[in-house]
Every structure is written in C-alpha cells, then in structure tokens.
Amino acid sequence: MSLPGLELTQPTADRPFAAAPPTQISLSQGTEWRFEVAFGTTVRVKLLAGTAELFGTELAPSQTYTFSGTKAAIYTWHGCTLEVNAGDAVSSLDGFLPGEVNGSAARGLSAGGCQSEYTAEETPMVEYANVHFALEEMRQQAKAAGRDGPRVLILGPEDAGKTSLAKILTAYGVKSGRQPIVVNLDPSEGMLSVPGTLTATAFRNMIDIEQGWGSSPMSGPSPVPVKLPLVYFYPSQNPLEADGMIYRPIVSRLALSVMGRMAEDEDSRETGIIVDTPGILSQGKAGGLQMINHIITEFSISTILVIGSERLYSTMVKDYDNKPTSSASAVATDERISVVKLSKSGGCVDRDVGFMKAVRESQIRTYFFGNSVPSTASSALSLSATSTLVTLSPHATQLDFNSLAIYNYIPPTVDEDEDEYDPSQLGTGDPFFTGGGEGGGVDPSSHDPNQQPSHSDEPGSTEATASSSAPIDGLSVPLKKVPGPAPSLLANTLLAITHAPPNAPAPAIRDASIMGFLYVADVDGEKGKVRVLAPIGGRVPSRALVWGKKWPDEVVGLVG
C-alpha cells in the first residue's frame, strides 16, 4: 500500500484508523498518566526513560506493553518518558467487539489511539505507598511477636479504586519479597477467573501488567508466571442476595482455606492477607454492615482501609478501631484493629454498564480462549519472531443432559411453587441417587469423604471444621437439582464444575471449590442434549455442576 497516491482513494472517514504516529509523553516525578483503551482496540506503551509503574508493578524499560479494554494509570516516582502507539485493532473470530456496546466509535482520537488520556499531578500514591510501608512495619513487628502478618480489608463504594489499591499493595509486597494472599470477594469482577467467582491466590511473582492480575495455570508456558487461584462459585452479582445466606457460608469456607494455607505456608503467614470487597457492601445497603462484620471476623482482619467514604469510615472507626482482632492469638498478643481512611484517586472513573459487561465477557473469553491481545513483553529476549500470544484451544462437546447433575440456586424470594426446597427431593431422577443426601449434614464427618473423594484417606482438619457449619444452615440451602428436560435458558450461560461428587448434599456442593467452567453453547431440549465448551478436551469430569443462571451474564456467540 505504499504506492504513491493510492491512499487518496481511501475514504476520509477511515483516517483515524490509520496508524497514529507514536506520541511521547513526559511525566515529571510524582505524576501519573491516566488512559482508557476501548475494547477492540489496542494501545502499545513503551517506557523510554525513567521509571514507571502500573498499579505498583514496574514497567521494564524498552519493552512494549499492549493494552486493550482497560482504564488504568501509569505512575512515576522519578519521572519518565513513555512512548504511546496505537496498535492493531483486535479482530475476533466472530466479529465480537464489546467496545461497540458503548455506542460510539471505539477508537479514540487521543494520543496513540487511547479513548481518553491525560496527565494528572494529584494522586494518592504517597498514601498508598505509605500503607505498604506501614504494612511492612506491621509484618516485621508481627514476625517479632510471633503473630500472623496483617490481614487487610479494603472497603469503599463502587469505582473507588479498591481493586487498584489491592493491586498496588500486592505489587509492592511482591517487590519487597513478600507473598501476600489476595482474596477477591467481589463476584461482579473475577480475579484470575471469570465473574461470579470468589478467589484466593498467593502472589509471589509479578502481577501481569497487560492482563489484569495475570493468568491461572494453562497446559503451556506463560511469559509471566501463572498464579494458582482457589476458586468458589457464587452465581449472583449481589452478595446480599437472599440475605447473604449463600454468600456468607462461601466466604466462611474461603476464609477457612486461606487460614489453612496461612498455617502451613510460612511466607504467606508472615505477609498476611489482602481482601478486596464488592463496592455494594460499602454503600449503606441493608445487611452490608453485617456482611462486613462477617468478613472481618472470618478473616481476622487487622487493618481496615476505607477509600472514598467518610460515612463508612466513621462507622468503621466506631465499631472496630482499636478493638481486638478475632484471631486466635489476639488476646495473647494484644493485636488490635486499625481503621485508616484513604483518599480516592481522582483517576477513578465510573465504569459504565456497557464497559463492565465487556470486561466480564472478556474475562470469560480469556478463560476459554486465552489472551485476545498479543503480549509482546517477553518476546524481546528470544529475539526470534515467535509470538507470545497465548491461544488456548477449548474443546466443544455434546453431552447428555440426563448424565449431568446440574444444580441451581433458587432464592426463596423467587416465587416458584414447584421449586420449594425439600432436602429429600435432592437427587431425584439421578440414576446414581443413593439417598445419601437425606441426612443433610446431620453427621458432618460422614460427608467429608464425599467432598474430597480423591483424598478420602486424609480428611484434613479443614474439611472437618468447615462442615461444622453445615448442620446449622444445611437445611436451608436453596440449591436444587435442575430437572429435565434441559431448559433452554441454559444456553449461553456458564456451568461451574465443582469438586463435589454429583450426588453430594447441597451444603457440600455450595461449599465446594470449583475446578472450572463449561459454557453451554446450545440446548436441544427434545433430544436432551447440550453442546458445551470445556476448557480441556476429554471427558467432562463427573461432578456436581452449578448453573450460573443469572450470573455471570449471558455471553452470546462464544462458540461460532
């Protein structure tokens, strides 16, 4: 296309799509460059001089980082020069361009093809960094006193920068040679997984700069070390749904696993936990404070960071500041909770419904198909032209609906006569029904082997204690097996594969961590067949499946 005069024939409307010349952005020390990149477009950023970090993770000099579908900020402590360059538009196989949901043309006209970008001089980075140093101090003290490292809870309304703060604290912790366990309790956005999940992950290696938090393990190598999350499924956006009676026990279970890890993993014990929460808890909704209290108790929170809510801060100070933590050793070591107020960054932008939907779709897509954006960060070393694009090959397969044990949460508030919960109905129609569900957790120990069939010889103390809560609310778990014929609503939704066996009792299924997801491409109700996309080829594991009927929201056309 370099023939002279040829470009004259191109319509002028396409002009913005021609590669914009690289823009150089100079940041003085203590400032940050905030940028938004729409889905479907990419922006390449290169650090030419100085130092720069994205949410605490430092950019390597002279490496090209590619961003797509993100709103982020690059901060510099020392001043830096960045080169910003519009990348290629991402062309998905089926023309899926989530950016289009924003209505307007996706590609922005700002520097390097960003949707919007500007340099900000006022940032709360000094505060955020000092929180890290304060945590370091607490870690040193805790080690000297024989306590666990600080357990940090981050609270604040939606779009206040909670996850960004969690990333910064994690990144600085990792940089200081620590290994924090990061817990995501926000089901509206996944961490290392799809939306609708609650996860815990120990971070020892760098957070991926381009891909949110990074990637969970794949069968192949990854340019940035993979992170190993522990994943639970909570198929609703609102943690307070059904008075939190589903969310609450899952949080307890997750906390229990985290505490189990802390007890055994010295690095994590010294570093502590960072808990990111859904904004809705901090927005004065009924039950929000109770849920916060539940989280504080379960994770033995020692430090509460409140961003951007004066009101919540004063409530937290009143209720928790200088109170003993709930950890077992709190009495002996006089460990007390501190509540700290943090400024909200001016860079926090409201992420509109369309953008959030696109983020979620992209997370689901990434789970099955891998990075949609070529990552060039680490290809420089090899100097060969190998692309570091990690493309995953999921496996489409046809399943017999009746062979699946699909469960669905039926909140009691939903008025569906036939769906009234009855523990004795559990497993009806299941050919492998053994009646084991009848007990509903009367004797917790008898169910432990079922929960962890592969490790039945060693029922860890974790499971035993975890199930102790089952008898209390075991009878009220609104989890019901989806009866045949296959409902057409299954199409375009996700099924979570739990680690629980197909005929496990409801509390066990609810509390089970999950091993992965199936995407239902389409449903043939008459033949009783469903076509699903599985991340891995081979037989779909015979486990209890939980249907994400309402959450995460439908993704249309994941499979062509």
């Binding site: 000099p61 000092n130 760098m206 696993s257």
Partner: protein, 645 residues
C-alpha cells in the same frame, strides 16, 4: 571452493539458517553441522558465512554461532579446520571482547577443547593446529592482565568520584572559620586568620599565580566529560554486561551531575579536571597516570602559611565530603588510596602532617561542635544533620554492581541520588504507622527501598533485585527462567494449549508458590519428551520419570496396577503442566516407575549416559547432546566416547 552460483546459494541458505540460531539449541547446531558436512565442496563459502555471522551477530548470539564452528570442526574436520582456522584469531577475539564474562568462561572452555584431540577419534592431532590456539591464548592472557589493571584504576577513580558526590560542600571556602588547625597541633604553622575575608584574600594569590592552568575552565571540562560519557556509552552499548563499563559510565554521569550543580570549589574542579584528562585516553589501562598527571598539575606549594592552610584544607574538604558517621572506618580502609588524589605535598615538612591529618580517625567527628566548619555547613543546611541512610555504607563489598543496570536508551536517566547502595529491606527504618495521619507524610527515603536499593534489574520484565550475592544468584535463576520459558513458548506454539482445571482446597493449601528465582533441583534434566519411553534412558543419572497427568478424569483416578495406589498430580513449573512424578506409561497403562522397575528388574535402566546434561551450554554438554542425538539419527557423524567412560 569455486565461487560459482551453487556455492553462493548454499552460502545464502546457510546464512539464513544461522540467523535463526538465537539460542544454544543443540538441534539447530547439529542440523547446521550436518548441512556443513554435506556441503564440504562449499566449505570455503560456508566458513566465510560463519565468520561473517559471528562478527555481525549480537553478542548474545555469538556463543551459539561459535558452537556451530566447534561442532563442525570436531565432527567434520578438514577442510573446515583449514578455512576456519585461517581467521580464527580475529573471529574468536572479536567475539570474546564483546560477550559477557559468563560467555567468556564458556569460550575459554571451548578453546581448551580445541587444544586437545577430538574425543573418541583415532586421530591424536588437536582440533585446531596449536599455532592458532596458542595465539588466541596468549592474547587472552594479555587482555586479562590489562583488564585487571584497568579495574584497579577504575576503582580508585570511582572512589574519588563518589566521594565528591556524597556531600554538598558548596563554598566551604566561604565559611568564616577555617579553624581546622587547632585540631592538629602544628607548632610550626601560624594560626590561620579567623576572619573569613582575610582568609579569602590570602587564598587568592596562589590562584592567580598559576592562573594559566589552575583556573578551571568549566565549559571545557564539561565538554571533556561529555565526550567521555559518549565514549563510555558506546562502550556500554557494545558491552552492556561488563560491570566496569557500567561503573565508569555511572561515575561519569554522577560527576557531570555534580558539576552541573556547581557544587565544587576551584580546587576540587582542578582535581576533577586532572582526573578527566587522565581518563581521556580511555582504554589504556595505565594506573599510574592519574597520580602522575596530578602531581604535575598541582602548583608547587610554597611554604607560606597561606598555602600551608590550603594544603591542609584540601584533605579536610575530602573529609567533609565523606559521611561523618563512617569516616573513621572509611579512612582506615582507604588510607592508602586516599593519598592519591590529594595534592602531593612538595614541602617535606608538611607532608607528614597532611598524612597524619588523613590517617587519624577524626576525633572531632562524633562531636561536630568541635569542628566549626562542619557546624557552619550544617547550619546552612549544606551538610545533612544526621547521616542519610542511603549514604551509610559507601564501601560495601558489592559496590561495583551497585550501579543500576543502565540499558541503552535509558542512559539519559540518572537516578536522583548520587550513591545508590545496597540496602536490605530489613535495614530500612520504616517508621510508618498505620493511621490516617502518618500515611500522609511523604517518605521519599522509603521509596528508595522499592527502586534504587534494588538496582539490579531484569531487562525483560523489569523485576528488581538487590545487589547482594544472594540476589545475584536469584537473578541468574530468574533469567534462566525467562530463557527456558521463551524456549518453551516457541515449542508450545506448535501444539494446542488449554486452561488447566483449578485445584481443590487441599491441593491449594498444600501448594507453594513457585518462585522463578528458586533453585529447581534436578528438574533441568527432564526433557519434554520424558514420557517414560526409551528416550528416558538417555536422561540424567537421577532416574526421575514423569508423565503429563491425563486430563481424563477416569484415567486420572486409575491407580497404579502394581501397588494400587493413586497417582498424585503435581504442578510442574518446568513443563507448565500437571504431571505425575515417578510415573511411566507402558502400553495403555500407567505404572509407578519405581514399581515397574521393581517388577521388571532389568527394565529401563536409567543411568546409561551420565553426561552432565544440564543447561550449562558448555562445549562438553553440546558434545553430550550430540552424542545422544547420534543414537537415533542415522547420520554418519563421528561419534565420540564420553571422557568419563
């Protein structure tokens, strides 16, 4: 030999193949060897291509290319030894000067093998005629001696430059009370005038007296430094891994910064200028020059009281430049070196006094009140009232590597602090409390712990390491990880990948995060194809056998038919997949390798070749690998026996 078309084509082909060789890949190397063997009629062309390639390829890729040469001369021999031997001296030395020290070690090892006969061959002649290897060797010895001298010169240079950087003694001459004399009882020396003006006035004469070469032309000096920096940069670009070049560049940049801040007095400038002019013939390692040239440039010190003070004042200035807290220790260590930059006293009477002045651990320092000069400086805020933590230990043993790894393109940036030191995270006094007030106070010194203190950077991902020995090893392993990952990424691109299942609670609790900087014992030896087949026998002495854990849940739960125990999946960072350790697949069944060996006894004997197959990339291992390849490739490459057999 004929430069006909065919030869050109072969050469072109060979050139292209060589360009694909970016890492020490034994398959590519043996492939290139086979091509060379099959085209002996074009040996001359191929040899030229090889030489050209080694000359032009980036330093990081010189080693694999030289391994191709090594492989060819050992496996094919003549006529390649003839053609390649002709220019071997230039080829080898060019490469040697440009690669980092690790690669040099490997080149040394390779050179050693060239002096011996091809292992396992009947021919007892060395690989290359001794004339060739001897020439290279003696050149290397010379270079090494020179480098050693150069390093010594640098370290002195460095000390001087950094000494200036630590303090900010602007205008010490203006301080009203140069009363240093009282501390050093010198009956012969009259008390200096307590009046600052009087002192200044008295100070002028020697300056004007030697105006011609004493007044330092700042602009000229800056120009000189600029050109030195430019040279150092290009050196650095050519040789980014050489520590001494880095240091030198860093020192020069620091010096430039100090000059631009106008913090030096005339005397100091003069010394700087002398140093700079001594540096000008840069690559010549003549340690004596700085001293000599300085001596020549220092004006003859007269015996007048004034110059006496001057001579005394100068070392005094050096003392102030150094951090008071560590001065005593520093002086002890560097007393000998410190004498170099001081003006060589012409007056024999004065000499011992000056030396005494410098060698005495300054008793005044712990009680600064005794030293009015320092007190005055402090009062003006020119000297820090308390030692800044960053300047606490200017003589760390790891100083040479304390300089940030400056990447070309980043050289414009110099960290704002003048003395980057290794600070252990634990050494830093944090002092930030977790409360709303405390976290609002900016803590620039703590930010250093995240950046400058970790000046040893990975160029690929930007990860920072401390400059301690421990962290250097970590970095080496980290770089290894990048290297291996990149290799695997290239391999993995050829087969389909997929997302792994998430682990269950128990596995997660038991799992430990993989650190790419941790030692992975023995896992290097596990090849990608170690699927328990015959090829596994060629593996390392440690008979670790594993297979990828099957994805099929049914297979996954099938126990070992012999012991009836289930297999345990572990995540292998090396393979980036779930694997079963100690497992072997025979037919369609999976056994524990140990069970299977027990039952079959003479089963897959694990340790046949005990060649160190680690990724050391030394010629030895290349030979070993080549040998392993010979087993299944019918090519008639000369087979060598192991030295150990």
């Amino acid at each position: 030999m004929s430069s006909g078309l065919a030869s050109d084509e072969v050469a072109e082909d060979y050139k292209n193949s060589l360009e694909d060789l970016t890492s020490n890949d034994r398959f590519q190397i043996s492939n290139l060897t086979v091509i060379a063997k099959e085209n002996t009629e074009h040996a001359m062309a191929i040899s030229r291509v090889l030489e050209n390639h080694i000359r032009t390829t980036p330093p990081a890729q010189k080693l694999p290319a030289l391994y191709v040469v090594d492989s060819i001369v050992k496996n094919v021999g003549t006529p390649y030894t003839l053609f390649l031997g002709r220019n071997m001296y230039q080829t080898f030395m060019n490469a040697y000067t440009l690669v980092d020290s690790q690669t040099r070690k490997k080149l040394d090892e390779m050179l050693k093998t060239w002096k011996e006969s091809v292992p396992g061959s009947l021919d007892t002649k060395p690989v290359f005629p001794p004339e060739i290897t001897r020439g290279i060797e003696s050149a290397l010895i010379k270079a090494r001696t020179a480098a050693l001298q150069q390093q010594q010169a640098r370290s002195q240079q460095d000390l001087l430059g950094r000494g200036r950087g630590t303090g900010t003694p602007t205008g010490w001459t203006n301080s009203p009370t140069p009363q240093t004399a009282p501390r050093h009882p010198q009956p012969n020396v009259p008390r200096p005038n307590n009046n600052g003006h009087g002192y200044d006035a008295a100070r002028i004469p020697p300056q004007t007296q030697h105006n011609s070469h004493q007044d330092v032309d700042l602009a000229a000096l800056n120009r000189d430094i600029d050109s030195l920096i430019a040279t150092a940069r290009s050196d650095f670009a050519n040789n980014p891994l050489d520590n001494s070049v880095q240091q030198r560049l860093k020192a020069l940049l620091d010096l430039q910064g100090i000059l631009q801040r106008q913090e030096l007095t005339q005397e100091q400038l003069r010394l700087v200028r002398d140093q700079v002019s001594a540096l000008a013939p840069a690559p010549k390692p003549v340690p004596a020059i700085p001293q000599a040239s300085m001596a020549a440039n220092i004006p003859p010190v007269s015996t007048t009281p004034v110059s006496n003070i001057l001579a005394q004042q100068l070392p005094q200035a050096f003392q102030q430049l150094l951090n008071p807290g560590t001065l005593g220790e520093l002086l002890k260590v560097t007393a000998a070196r410190q004498q170099q930059p001081t003006p060589p006293p012409q007056n024999p009477l004065l000499y011992p006094k000056v030396t005494a002045n410098m060698n005495t651990p300054p008793p005044a320092v712990p009680t600064p009140a005794e030293n009015p000069l320092i007190a005055a400086l402090k009062a003006r805020g020119l000297l820090p009232a308390t030692p800044v933590p960053t300047a606490s230990n200017p003589l760390m043993p790891s100083v040479p590597s304390a300089f940030p790894f400056i990447v070309p393109g980043q050289v414009r940036y110099t960290p704002p602090i003048s003395t980057p030191h290794a600070i252990n995270a634990s050494e830093i006094k944090l002092g930030v409390q977790m409360n709303t007030v405390s976290i609002k106070i900016p803590q620039p010194t703590l930010i250093i712990s995240l950046y400058e203190a970790r000046s040893n950077r990975c160029g690929t991902c930007g990860r920072r390491f401390l400059t301690t020995e421990e962290d250097k090893e970590k970095k080496a392993r980290h770089l290894d990880w990048h290297f291996k990952t990149n290799q695997r990424m290239a391999e993995a691109a050829k087969r389909a990948q997929n997302r792994s299942w998430y682990v269950d609670e128990r596995d997660w609790i038991k799992s430990r995060e993989f650190g790419d900087d941790l030692e992975i014992p023995e896992s290097d030896a596990q090849g990608e194809s170690g699927a328990g087949s015959g090829s596994a026998a060629a593996k390392k002495s440690l008979p670790k056998q594993w297979i990828r854990a099957p994805n099929d849940a049914a297979l996954r739960n099938t126990p070992c038919p012999i012991c009836q125990e289930k297999f345990e999946s572990t995540w292998s960072e090396d393979v980036q997949d779930w694997i079963w350790q100690d497992a072997i697949k025979v037919g369609n069944r999976v056994y524990h390798a140990s069970c299977y060996a027990e039952v079959t006894k003479d089963g897959p004997a694990p340790a046949r070749g005990s060649t160190p197959l680690g990724r050391t990339g030394t010629p030895d291992s290349v030979l070993g690998k080549r040998k392993a390849e010979d087993n299944d490739s019918p090519s008639h490459v000369r087979i060598k026996t192991e030295p150990s057999l």
